[in-house]
Amino acid sequence: MRSIKILERVLATIPIMFGVAIIVFFFIRLTPGDPVDIMMGQGGAISAGELDRLREEFHLNEPLHIQLWYFLRDAARGDLGYSYVLKQPVTSLIAERLPATIELAVGALLFSLVIALPIGVISAVRQNSWLDRLSMSTAFLGISMPGFWLGIILILLFSVQLRWLPVQGRISLGTGFQERTGYFVLDSLLTGNFAALKSSLLHLVLPSITLGAPVAAVIARVLRSSMLETLRSDYVTLARSKGVAESWVVIKHALRNAMIPTITVVGLQVGILLGGNMVIETVFGWPGLGRMVVKAIFDRDFPLIQGTVMIYAFTFVMANLIVDVLYTYLNPRIRMQ
């Protein structure tokens, strides 16, 4: 029963992916005027010969539904077009920048979980204590704060004033770093280069905090409120009256069930991680997908923007799929069906 549910859910993502591609396809129709003319206007980055190829690539002379067909066919083959500004296929440009973005996203997610899980649990167990009030006020601050501004304030404080952490980039020069996979922390470990490891980790700190802060805030709030609910439930009372140790009650009985709604929220937060990514990468000069798109927007590099927005949406759809599958595993009510 459970595997059928999961299979259904996996299959349901296929039409969504198609729909996403169709919406992205229509994005370029939003441009006032001829997209190729606009791309041409960008300081002669595109030559006259390429102009014809570009018209052909977008199939702009064909009727709309034929254009859409070509677009979907190419996307299904993994061909997201060609960036005429950077003179490379969009897929290889994305593949090149993806490790930096993933490394930052993992850092942010780790930060948010490490902060939010204990805070959510302790705030619920010690409801209305000063610790609860302090953490919930901080969490409230976290959901109301613009990420780019937090990043700048952190740079001002920790990089400019205290000089503890680097301002920009992924690694310092002169560490003798050798790139292998594109994941700098991993590469430093693989080559046994501890100077590079230290440098890449230090470079990760501020961007991860900035990107992870709003996520941590949301997770802590949701976890706290669902913990408050489970702590008041009958099975927790029963466990307590059986004489189960309080810490075991909290972790095994209350937290486990409180995680179910929390997981769903974590999945939605992946959207914040991805969206914040463009902004935070710009603030910290982080050479990932986000910074590439923002630059592509100013270059009017339409194929690159299309391709990357599609990748972002696909990642979001996949993240929600994973969350749904996890949810099915975690929730005994579904498991038992």
């Binding site: 969504i16 919406i23 994005f27 501004w149 709003p214 949301v218 923002v294 927007i297 923007i305 927005v309």
Partner: protein
């Protein structure tokens, strides 16, 4: 004139009905205020929000400086507690413009964008959600599919994508925020419609011969509108942050317009010599969004405790 008394008594009936309605509304409003006073944080949020609104409305009267024209000889003057100059309480930016003036004018942008983008999202979302939830059918499945697809995009990514192709500008900004913004209101109203339309009071209204329009407008919508209002308030802070993020990236309004996001962005270039240029516009965003969220969460507790924490 045989119809005279009839008209008069009909008019009197109407006046009587309206008097009762007004009294009910006034009573509800007084109840609401009483409940609000039990939420001190929501009160604080409401008061701060009103202050922002007032300063945005009376920006021309409050400030003496020009928000757009600067004097390069006056660039990077420090805030009053560092420089001791009350002419520029929060200092000046890299073009010698008074920072406080620009922040006050920036409130206009943020508030207008917030109200308009939420307002349009509400109108579109409520309209489509009502039709889809009440009548169902092919229209419902079509719009619901579209909503599902739009939900596959993270909000900021979608807005950035739309702005990338539309280009900067006020109308485009509102379009970018509402293209996806209506979806949440649609889902809320559609769900409530589905739940409400099977209830007894709707059945009763139908039996008395009321038409669909009357049932929707008079019976169901009044029961839903509070949830819409709460969600709208909670979404407004997010819209304002999104607009600021777009402006920060240079994708929002043209750069000479004093929007808080682009002010933070320009201040970044001079952060080593003038920390205040980025810091204060960001604080302005933070306080406004906090005020809106405090007010919104208070509203939710009072009007619609069912809407749960989801960030």
């Amino acid at each position: 004139m045989e119809t005279g008394p009839d008209i008069r008594s009909a008019l009197q009936d109407q006046i009587y009905i309206w008097r009762i309605r007004l009294e009910l509304w006034w009573g509800n409003f007084k109840n609401f205020l009483r409940e609000l006073s039990a939420h001190p944080l929501a009160m604080v949020g409401g008061v701060v929000l009103v202050l922002y609104l007032l300063s945005a409305l009376f920006a021309d009267q409050i400030t003496v400086h020009n928000p757009i024209q600067g004097n390069l000889r006056l660039r990077h003057i420090a805030p009053v507690w560092q420089a001791g100059d009350w002419t520029y309480p929060l200092g000046t930016d890299s073009q010698g413009r008074d920072l406080l003036t620009r922040i006050v004018y920036g409130a206009r942008i943020s508030l207008i964008v917030g109200f308009l983008s939420v307002g349009i999202s509400v109108i579109v979302g409520v309209l489509l959600g009502t039709l889809a939830g009440y009548f169902g059918g092919r229209f419902d499945s079509l719009v619901s599919r579209l909503a599902d697809l739009l939900l596959a995009f993270p909000f900021l990514i979608f807005a950035i994508g739309v702005m990338a192709f539309l280009g900067p500008g006020f109308t485009n900004l509102i379009l970018a925020l509402t293209f996806k913004g209506w979806v949440e209101f649609f889902r809320l109203v559609r769900g409530e419609m589905l739940a409400e339309k099977t209830k007894e009071y709707v059945e009763a209204a139908r039996v008395t011969g009321q038409g669909h329009l009357a049932i929707i407008m008079k019976e169901i919508l009044p029961n839903i509108i509070q949830s819409v209002f709460v969600l709208g308030t909670l979404r407004m802070g997010y819209m304002i942050i999104t607009e600021a993020s777009l402006s920060f990236l240079g994708l929002g309004l043209p750069p000479n317009i004093p929007a808080w996001g682009s002010m933070v962005a320009t201040g970044r270039d001079s952060i080593l010599v003038a920390w205040w240029v980025s810091t204060f516009p960001g604080l302005a965003i933070l306080f406004l969004v906090m005020a809106i969220n405090l007010f919104g969460e208070g509203l939710r507790d009072i009007l619609d405790p069912r809407l749960k924490l989801e960030g």
